[in-house]
Amino acid sequence: MRLSRRTLLRAAAAMAATSLAGCATGGGDPLAGRSTAVPEEPVSIGWMAQRLADNEGRDLRRTLAEAFQRRYPTITVHLTEVPPTTDVRRTTLTTQIASGSPQPDVYLGDCVWPAQFAHNSLAAPLGAVAEHRRFWDGFPEPVAEAVRYGRQAWAYPLYVDYAFLYYRADLLDKHGLAVPRTWEELVRTALRLKEAGDVRYGFVWQAASSEALTCNVNELLADAGGALMDAEARRVLVRSDAARHTLEFMAGLVADGVSPAAVGTFAEEQAMTAFSSGQAAFLRNWSYAWGAANAERSAVRGKVGATLRPAFDGVGRRGLATMGGWHNFVNPHTEQLGAALAFARWMAEEEAQTLMATTSPYTPALSSVLSAPAVVGQDNPTFRLASEAELVLRPTRSPYYPQISKAVYTNVNPIVVAGGGDVGGAVDAMADEMTQARDGAAL
């Protein structure tokens, strides 16, 4: 028996070693020698994307797929089921694609994924950005920059998310207050509305120990004239007065009662709930918050305004916003490369972008569509605001972005929750851990 067990173990070890030897070759361009032409015979492709509701509550994914099929009659698009959260989606895609699955042919991915997915061979390269200048010049520069890793582009943008400031227009009117243009003004106004007993919280935002907090730090730091890292995500710039000022401001919001300490547990959903249930005067959130605040079940329906994010008094401009949004990636193992590329690219072009921008709340990535009067002039003010805002990128150019982001949110969150503390120490720890993460040495 013992001998047999040992034999079995040996056999399994040999199997493991053989399979390792088999996959140790690696590298190469997955598209080399493969046709990227749109097929002439009928084919079908799978698209993994979360449900996107249009203005009528219908599924925008189907509208897009049907419009594409009218344009390319030989290609049928099937929707693939998608896991509920961004992180679980990444897990599913990673295990599926790393094991060589050709499905889904195209998938909608977070705008922070390109470098990590490119580095780990989970996306197909879409050609050097420089060689397709005319195509990429059609997008705002940060959008085009965010899909690049090395010289190549790795995703076609579908929609871009901007962070805005939402406010209770009815309460500002009631007290004859102006919409704040600086953070200092926002603090005063929020405290006044809170003291008047109109709201429970002055300003709600996202400081949960998660990516949501990194987004908030990223744009507030830009407001203060600083940055987390340089544009290529090589140098860590966070050890700065601007960062210390930003953290002090965030902690001060809690310490002064402008924001509840609960923002330390708020991601987008919790902050949105606090605002749309009428508990908060101001909200920092993405474009979708306009629709959510004016939804049928919202307690503040019709009482809400949206504006550009404020600036710090005397520093920089208003309207800086962390860039969010979702892009279409192509599976490098797709068996329908031509069709997959055609579909992913078509969704970033004028026809699809216009269709999306005029029937749904999603902000188009393409500049020409975003500035079109039919789009900007809609009831939803987030389109107009988006055309005036300035996007701030997170250091997503690094393939180790998740670890970099973790270094940010784990160090800032306790400062916010406590409403103060060793801000200098937190900034130093954040800088050290970001450097370690950038080098791929962080766990």
């Binding site: 173990l9 390792l20 784990t410 766990l443």
Partner: protein
């Protein structure tokens, strides 16, 4: 495995008084051995398909993961690519404060929750045993938390702990008269406590049911003898009930320790491992490093080290379990 070995390798006992057999019966024994060997061969052939399947779905992945933990790995277009064999993954673990914290958290969480569950579960079982008619109903009620899928119950707890609308937050604030809403999941210690409460709520019934099963099997006569000797109910519990329950409690302990060591779903849904890494168990850390950071080598190293720790804990428990059984048999 052990039983199989004993059953197969130990020769059949000789009939008593048959001491001539070794001399006269040698050819018979040879024939018998040959027969046994042939049977064993047939047995191996019959079980081979299932052994191959087991090897493919358990042994191979485990070994593969151990190999990955010693490798610099990248995902390439051709699959996982091992660039070099290295000890750096384990060095990275040894240099990672988060890893030490995850071990400390997992061990601490296991010790506290299992201890509380054993005490509460035993108490519940003692009460249940005394009930006559209502026992069935109460057991069914008790089993509801245990039968609930952890992902669902963790989500429900997260609603209750929510810092702006959670009922527990409200109770603490309104009833206890706290000045501001407590941040249950926003600070490390309250978050850890909250997670332990959710675990204890869910798994105490499991312990209670196992202990109850042991209780009803206890022989009545021992109690009668103790009563005759004039033992108080307190003495009876400590001197009669508990010693006889040792083996049962050991089973409950073993199951719970193994489950608690691998805890994943509860922190994943309730806290996401946060705030910071406050509730990050080894399993959650392994998941994050592997699937969020796509850091394959170190992720495999975390998985392997967790496996070793769980294996060690399991062996310790088994050892304790065996000695308990031994004592039972002696007494």
């Amino acid at each position: 495995m052990r039983m199989l070995t004993e059953g197969a390798a130990v020769p059949a006992p000789r009939p008593p008084g048959d001491d001539r057999r070794p001399r006269a019966g040698a050819p018979v024994r040879d024939h018998r051995d040959a027969n046994e060997r042939r049977m064993a061969r047939v047995g191996w052939i019959y079980t081979m398909p299932s052994l191959v399947v087991i090897a493919a779905v358990t042994i191979f992945p485990i070994l593969f993961s151990v190999v990955l933990s010693f490798a610099r790995v990248r995902i390439t277009y051709e699959g996982f690519s091992v660039e070099a064999l290295t000890l750096r993954n384990y060095l990275a673990l040894l240099n990672s404060g988060d890893w030490y914290y995850a071990i400390a958290f997992t061990v601490g969480y296991t010790v506290v929750t299992v201890a509380v569950e054993l005490v509460l579960g035993t108490l519940a079982a003692l009460i249940l045993e005394r009930l006559a008619g209502a026992r069935g109903w109460l057991m069914a009620l008790l089993l509801i938390p245990w039968s609930m899928i952890t992902v669902v119950s963790a989500q429900l707890w997260s609603y209750m702990y929510n810092s702006s609308y959670g009922v527990i937050t409200w109770v603490l604030e309104a009833v206890l008269g706290l000045e501001s809403a407590p941040l249950i999941l926003g600070r490390p210690l309250p978050a850890i406590t909250a997670m332990m409460v959710a675990d204890i709520w869910k798994t105490t019934p499991f312990v209670a049911i196992i202990v109850l099963a042991g209780l009803v099997m206890l022989p009545r006569d021992v109690y009668e003898a103790a009563e005759v000797d004039g033992a108080s109910s307190w003495t009876m519990f400590w001197r009669v009930t508990l010693p006889q329950l040792r083996a049962t409690i050991a089973v409950a302990l073993l199951f719970r320790v193994l489950q608690a060591f691998g805890v994943f779903d509860l922190p994943f849904v309730l806290t996401g491992g946060g705030p910071g890494v406050a509730t990050q168990s080894l399993a959650v850390m392994g998941y994050k490093v592997l699937f969020q950071d796509l850091n394959i080598g170190p992720g495999a190293a975390i998985a392997t080290s967790t496996g070793l720790l769980v294996g060690g804990a399991c062996l310790l428990c088994l050892k304790a379990f065996r000695s308990q059984i031994g004592r039972e048999e002696l007494s």
